[in-house]
Amino acid sequence: MTNKNNQRNIILTILGVVLFCFYVFKPISAVSPTPAPDTETENATSSSITEEKIKEFRDYAKEEVSKIKEKIEKRAYVGTIIQITDSTLTLENFRGKRRVRLAEETTIIATNKKEIKAKDLALEDKVIAMGTMGSNEILEAVRVVVTKPTVNPSENTISLGIIISVNAKTSRIKFSDVKNQTEIEIKVEKETKIMQYPASSLKFSDLEENQKIIVVHPKAKEAELPLAKSIYLLP
């Protein structure tokens, strides 16, 4: 009887100590600036909102990636035909050479908007080839459009300067070019766009000495006065 009592006492003591240890050494959660949800329901709601947001973000990312992919894959080469083989055109533009592969399904449109065959294409034709980028930078053409050759417009020159003089009689201005420290005389015509940055329109009479300007003009031929395309008055 005493033995049984002893055993019971021992078991109760062990249980007591175990429970005491659990209480004393229970992990303490750190204080968080964002209070953690207390109940399981709150946990479930928060989890579903997070999942929804993740799904939303994933869908958005997917859509954007497919848009970018389409933009990268679908390309257009513009250039003059310099070589024609059975099914490949070699075009040339200021970037260099571009190769275009024609398929039976490729639609070819002439300058008169009528559909033509690949054999109707000729060297020196200027074309716009649209399609999908294949291997080795060869464009798999879906549509090729023959365009009228464009006359290259003369290159624009952009200068930053300070007005030295304005001549209303001759419609000319003289300005000092900031870059080269040279004096440039330029002709202003009715077609010349004169603007106060950023947006308001000005007249020739608004131009004065010491104003800071940006002048856009095509490169002039030798011994010719450059004609201003645009003059921007800067703040």
Binding site: T13, C21, A76
Partner: protein, 142 residues
């Protein structure tokens, strides 16, 4: 009796310690898996200040030799901070200034077919840098 009780206390204390440590470890492991790491490293923007001050120009939109289904396209890119940027398209000419980070963005109208867009950055010292991109405006499904 006293000896047995003492032994029981020591054993119980040991079991309690082991169990508590186990629970603590398990909780720590589970808690760690919920940590979300930011994909953008902090302080990355500070690198902008370390960029060289020489005139530079890079275009992020539109892609060169790309096709647009819209009659207008966004022209954006970056250059040196507070630099003049002149944009010529087939239809218009625009002057703008890049922001303090060198970013610029505008929209230009396109004509049907080939569009050459010329972007020139112009520094206060009059230096220029130019880039040309070609965009084809076509509504035909490719």
């Amino acid at each position: 009796m006293k000896k047995e009780v003492l032994l029981a206390i020591i054993i119980g204390f040991g079991i309690g310690l082991v169990a508590t440590f186990g629970l603590y470890s398990a909780r720590k492991t589970i808690g760690g898996s919920y940590q979300i790491y930011s994909p953008v490293p902090e302080g990355k923007n500070e690198q902008v200040a370390n960029l060289p001050i020489d005139l530079s120009l890079s275009l992020s939109s539109p892609l060169d030799e790309s096709i647009s289904k819209d009659p207008k396209t966004k022209v954006s890119g970056s250059t040196s901070p507070s630099t003049w940027v002149v944009i010529f398209s087939e239809k218009e000419e625009k002057l703008m200034k890049s922001d303090e980070k060198g970013q610029f963005e505008t929209e230009v109208a396109l004509i049907s077919g080939e569009n050459e867009i010329e972007v020139t950055a112009l520094s206060e010292s009059g230096n220029t840098i130019k880039k040309i991109i070609t965009v084809v405006y076509s509504t035909v499904e490719i």
